[in-house]
Subunit: 210 residues, 2 copies
């Protein structure tokens, strides 16, 4: 990797760190782009060459983990029912977060703490979720063998998004506490649904039909 690329990664991380620290100490709205840029010794204009908006710098880590989740989901075998695949992908993503180096983990925890206390960022996080919801619905619909405009995949994804929000959204927790919370919510969900709720009804009787 060349010097140029290394510098870019460096600047990007420095901007994220400076932004998160300023956001957490002064508040998100009270912090200006100029302050973030000054902290990293770059021009304000350069900030916008790394992040499209003030919001993006705060949510970039969440966006990254969302991508990881989608990747993990695609890697689940087709034989798994949709909800199982979603749950396992979520476990896999949280596990991956625990494995990265401590600096990244610290950044992630900071970003989560910040998002939780800033309604504008909470909204942005939801926007990210919803922008990816189409992809999620399409994947679930594929596994169910129904159309993407069917209610069932939308329902499954919607329920699962709620589970994700509960996990990411409450309590100032470290990653391992978050992992435990995920298990708790998934256990609760398992007890709430009927078996096979995430699969389309078999409209033929088990032992043959016309």
């Amino acid at each position: 990797m060349g010097l140029r690329e290394r510098k870019k990664v460096q600047t990007r991380n420095a901007l994220i760190d400076a932004a998160l620290d300023l956001f957490l100490t002064q508040g998100y709205e009270a912090t200006t782009i100029d302050q973030i840029a000054a902290e990293v010794d770059v021009s304000p204009r350069t900030f916008f060459r790394y992040f499209a908006s003030k919001e993006e710098v705060a949510l970039s880590l969440f966006a990254d983990s969302l991508e990881i989740f989608l990747g993990d989901l695609a890697a689940r075998p087709d034989s798994e029912p949709p909800y199982t695949a979603l749950s396992q992908a979520m476990r896999s993503m949280v596990g991956a977060l625990q494995d990265v180096d401590p600096a990244d983990a610290a950044r992630f925890v900071k970003a989560r703490e910040l998002t939780e206390s800033t309604s504008a960022l909470l909204a942005g996080q939801m926007r990210l979720l919803m922008e990816n919801e189409k992809r999620l619905v399409a994947e679930v619909a594929r596994r169910q063998g129904v159309g993407a405009d069917d209610l069932l995949p939308q329902f499954v994804v919607s329920v699962f998004t709620g589970i994700g929000m509960i996990c990411f959204g409450s309590g100032k927790q470290h990653l391992d506490v978050m992992a435990k919370r995920l298990e708790d919510v998934l256990t609760l969900a398992d007890g709430s649904f009927r078996p096979g709720w995430d699969l389309p009804p078999a409209d033929v009787s088990p032992s043959g039909d016309a």
Copy 2:
């Protein structure tokens, strides 16, 4: 009602109408506050005396219906299980929307169509939902006789929020079509959950305990 108040309501509605029309024809981002204000013959500064932001004017109707929903929920008898109360309150709210005068209904349909096609507004809608989620969780927890920090009420509310989003979020439909969609989703949900899923487990055996 005095002249002063009538004029305010008039101006407010005129601003909403002008904004929705401009948003729908030119797009949300492409429309400026100055244009909206000019359309109503009011100074741009006055716009911000009626709405705190460009987003608020587009979501004001949704915010209103959300308040109606919360009111309807509070009016449900305590004997109803949480999920039933939520569903009935939702039915009640959608019913109320169908009863208002056509001008208001037209505004609502416009606002919904607009929100659906504008990701910034979709995010704002979610923000509104989440800002009210605390109240919703508190109400559900009260009916369940558990603490508001318990997982169960959060789960129930989260699931229900998803149902609401499916209803409000897809298809350019009129109010009656939306009502039918609500019934469809609620039917699907009814078939997916185990009986009593929205109530805390009775941790005593039915015929006596210490």
